[in-house]
Amino acid sequence: MSSDSVSNLMKGHMESLAAEGKRADGRGINEFREVKIETGMINTAEGSSMVHLGKTKVLCGIKLLIGTPYGDSPGSGTMTTSTELAPLADQSFDPGPPREASIELARVVDRGIRESRMIDFDALCIEHGERVWMVYIDLHILDNGGNLFDCCTLAAAAALSNAKIPNVQHGIADEDVDLPVTCWPISCTFGRLGDTVILDPTSDEESVMSARLTVAHDEDGNIRAAQKGMNGAFTDAEVREAVKTARKSDNVLREALKGI
């Protein structure tokens, strides 16, 4: 039987399950997999975290370097996000230049942090127009079990919450202080399986779903970011419903983040 036929069989099976509100791993359609967050394991990083979301594992390291600000924002620090889809994480990952899917992932995670103004960039100014802290968020995906969007966003939040500004090492101040964080955007990603919308898809579910919707809220229930992906569609009603579901469902991730 060709791999296409296998894939079609799996697709049919998963869609039927979803239509009955069930999933292959026993979860409900709006339920997250088990989440586990550890922090501070990388001594060479200013902040670090390892997040397990089901079988997905992402290691995040934060580096804080001193640099010059951009000309159009002389009083603000800068931020760079990159995602490394390590070849050991997935058989299909090619080593080499980032592909479009990887660029989309990095940009969605980056925007979720940047545009929500999670980091107080103005507090990262050392000397106006001259020296600012540059925040590098490097996401190292070690095991791709699906839903990299939410796992990466969570890992970045956890590592940022763990990060210290290395004032002492650079002779800026007498003590290292926490990186200034203003809000906690948490993303929830949905997939469309047939006519059902499910939360937190596994990699098996991702391989047969037709559309993806990622929605991030802050701790006050305001929406901070969204991204629809893949070549299927959602109805207007599905989009609005997913946003409401996200507002309720992100609690489990939010609690895990508070627990660290």
Binding site: D4, E100, A101, I103, E104, A106, R107, R111, E115, S116, R117, L213, D218, G221, N222, I223, R224, A225, A226, Q227, K228, G229, M230, N231, G232, A233, F234, T235, D236, V239, R240, V243, K244, R247
Partner: protein, 240 residues
């Protein structure tokens, strides 16, 4: 999306450029402006200026991207170096790559890709002057170019953003609103079914504001859809 500005972007229900909150900038669309392309479009949306051109269905390169049971859409969004105030370096940066990718996927939903196995439909969008909202403008131009090329489609895809400035939900952000506003929500829909094929959001919206922004962007897409069909009618009329 600075989100925290004292700048007054809307006063007494009137925006800096004189528009009401639910008003589009002026949109002018001309189909069939290029000779070599199988279909093409020139679009002005406020001060945005965009060319779109379509080739195909044609053999898909590189081969390993071919799909046995359908065509793929290879959309490419680029900005000319002179399209912004600071010169932009030529070539595909990460922002352009992401837009190209999500636009390609949105079009695969409406183009009858199953009719052309192994083929590619190439959609090129060239932004030659940019003033906020270029991804929606480029997608809109691309839809018209696809129709001009006679590529079988379920429908065209109008694309339009809503957003928030000074805590007011508004349609179609201009450059100042994009720079100093509080949220931006680009949306592309299939008018005949109401399905959402592209949705992005940055910024800050309360639950109610999100509902309002969705309503506004959807209604903007429907207004735009009429302008797109008029442009094609005019083009077909002109060709007769």
């Amino acid at each position: 999306m600075a989100g925290q500005t004292d700048m007054e972007l809307i006063k007494d229900g009137v925006r800096l450029d004189g528009r009401k909150p639910d008003e589009l900038r002026e949109v002018k669309i001309t189909a069939g402006v290029l000779d070599n392309a199988d279909g093409s479009c020139y679009l002005e949306w406020g001060n945005n200026k965009i060319y779109a051109g379509v080739f195909g269905p044609m053999e898909c390169h590189p081969r390993h991207k071919q799909k046995a049971d359908r065509a793929i859409v290879q959309a490419r969004y680029t900005m000319a170096p002179f399209s912004v105030n600071d010169r932009k370096r030529p070539g595909l940066d990460r922002r352009s790559s992401e837009i190209s990718y999500i636009v390609s996927q949105a079009f695969e939903k409406v183009v009858m890709v199953e009719e052309f196995p192994k083929a590619s439909i190439r959609v090129d969008m060239q932004v030659v002057e940019a003033h906020a909202g270029t991804r929606c403008a480029a997608m809109t131009a691309a839809s018209v170019a696809l129709a001009d090329a006679g590529i079988p489609m379920r429908d065209m895809i109008p694309a339009c953003a809503s957003g928030k400035v000074n805590d007011v939900v508004v349609l179609d952000l201009n450059k100042e609103e994009d720079n100093y506003g509080q949220a931006d929500l680009p949306l592309a829909i299939i008018p005949s079914t109401g399905e959402v094929v592209l949705l992005q959001l940055d910024g800050h919206l309360t639950p109610d504001q999100f509902e309002e922004a969705m309503d506004l962007a959807t209604s903007g897409c429907m207004d735009l859809y009429k302008i797109m069909r008029d442009a094609l009618d005019k083009s077909y009329g002109g060709k007769k």
